[in-house]
Symmetry: C2
Subunit: 342 residues, 2 copies
């Protein structure tokens, strides 16, 4: 690749969203590509990964990582190909997984949050952002380490057809639990019961959530794995069993609210049921990632875990692809393909 002629097209944050994030919050611009230094490499991005948590990075508030600044390239996970490298561990042509943001090219020293990991050659490259990426790992650690499911437990998962929920539910099934998923639409619900082995699925778009949950969980709920918040969490808390674990993975239904969303009015169920509601951040488990990925790969190889990827195309569609997460359009891990490898 002759990088002399290259320009970098990229999306930067133009203003902070109030309410629903939209294309208007970002600016599409071009920039030059600098020369790499002695400890750097230049990568070409092939895919962007989208996660609900990225919405939080757009707010100017203290969180588990700093917000994206105005004028800064939108942060996201990526799959990339090395164009030119001064780092001994990486050579031209390598396919790597990193967090290089919404741009065509990036320069990195491979360290910190902007680190890079070579993607093993025996897995599909996109799986490094889906089932073996932070979404799959979030399911793994959230369910097993925080949810602590026991054989025979009833596990209820919201956002169940999403990249994390679908994997969490299948792991719960592997642990001998009865698993109920909540998802939007017939197609997603059918996939949950027919392909992902869930015991039942509730279509929140048409069902009475309270009634359906009550009917499908006659013995109460032992583990709630919540990606959604709002009405779901409020209802689920009324059905928890003694010593239940409520895993707070996300609250996607509230991320675009303009004013603070009320928390669950039913939270005092935690007292009556001596239960806990607990949050986690998957990055805390970094040192256990290799072991978890090994286990996930075995389960996928044995046909015990299925996963879905929803791949859109074209860097110009990055903002709209992020919005898909909040309108429930994505079915499985949301990705955006922006280039072919050379």
């Amino acid at each position: 690749m002759n990088k002399k002629n290259l320009r970098n097209r990229r999306w930067v944050l133009e203003n902070r969203p109030r309410g629903m994030v939209s294309k208007d919050n970002f600016k599409f611009e071009e920039s030059d590509i600098e020369d790499i230094k002695d400890d750097e490499m230049l990568v070409k991005n092939l895919y962007f990964g989208f996660d609900p948590t990225q919405r939080g990075w757009l707010n100017d508030m203290k969180s588990y990582m700093p917000p994206v600044q105005i004028g800064e390239v939108m942060r996201s996970s990526t799959i990339s190909q090395v164009v030119e490298s001064n780092i001994p561990d990486f050579k031209q042509g390598d396919i790597v997984q990193g967090s290089f943001g919404w741009q065509e090219f990036a320069i990195t020293n491979g360290k910190g949050f902007m680190n890079a990991n070579k993607i093993p050659e025996d897995i599909p490259v996109t799986s490094s952002l889906s089932v073996y990426g932070v979404t799959g790992l979030t399911a793994y650690f959230g369910l097993l380490d925080v949810g602590k499911p026991k054989e025979g437990d009833t596990v209820v998962i919201s956002g169940a057809a999403g990249a994390t929920g679908s994997v969490a539910g299948q792991i719960a099934k592997l642990k001998g639990c009865r698993v109920i998923g909540i998802a939007g639409g017939v197609k997603k619900c059918r996939w949950l019961t027919e392909t992902a082995n869930f015991d039942a699925a509730i279509d929140y778009k048409t069902a009475d959530l309270n009634e359906s949950l009550r009917e499908l969980c006659p013995n109460g709920i032992d583990v709630v794995f919540d990606n959604v918040g709002g009405e779901f969490l409020n209802t689920a808390l009324t059905l928890i069993n003694m010593n239940a674990r409520v895993v707070l993975c996300g609250a996607i239904s509230t991320y675009n609210d303009e004013t603070p969303t009320p928390g669950p009015s039913t939270y005092m169920s935690l007292v009556i049921m001596r239960a806990r509601m607990e949050g986690f951040i998957v990055l805390d488990y970094l040192d256990k990632f290799p072991e978890a990925i090994r286990e996930l790969r075995n389960w996928v190889k044995e046909g015990k875990i299925s996963y879905l990827e929803d791949i859109q195309e074209g860097i110009e569609n990055a903002p709209e692809t992020l919005v898909r997460l909040f309108t429930g359009q994505n079915f499985g891990k949301q990705l955006l393909k922006i280039a072919e490898p050379d």
Copy 2:
């Protein structure tokens, strides 16, 4: 005592409160006193104990114990004297702690929830309902087992001048924590810092809670011990540290709300801070009560724990004495003295 002439005056639940509990929800009536059976004893009540949780027993809903039924004597903890006994372990004149409700006399077989425990002669009888009763024990197990304070932690306690909060705070001090209490009024706040050894107290009636908490907890909060709920919990959650423990002991600010109170809109701090919010019921620790009471007695004897009792008088004042808890009038454990021992 010649029980031939005795009539039993008692308060029964007449109708379920909507909103604030009041005298109108109860009926004061007289009843006969039956003869005791072979395995029973007759006791005369000397004191009633009042706890915020009793408000919950008036609602017709599933909880950790069944609601008080309409027409039934209001359930409460009691200190009583044995009048006549067919139970070998109890003899006339014994002073016992039990749960015999808002009435002058009760008949019990000493088992189940209506059990009876002799009060050791070397402690003030009322302390069996305060520092050595469920309120002190709630502080002990809630703070130590759920809150897990470590030396140097910042611990924030709401309802800090109440029977439970005040003991929880003093135990946290004994464990080497920095302790901030929230209470209503100058008198209570002064007691917290001058007698109970709290590092600081916030008078919620006059202070800006958010501002004061931020100022007094420059390094964040490691343990929240919440008796109050509502605005307090919402604010405290914005200040929690990594791996903080939020002990749900109660939510007294919401117990008399007619419609469901919104939960804390800030609950997603639990995710960002990998923190947990957890409920407990002190009755689960029954088998550890003796050991905890032994430790509490030592601390009191060594002058390391002070406790307060707020003793009203007269059985006719039972409903109004319950209301005192919800208007913040009580200062320390709320008791009602209804008779002298013989």
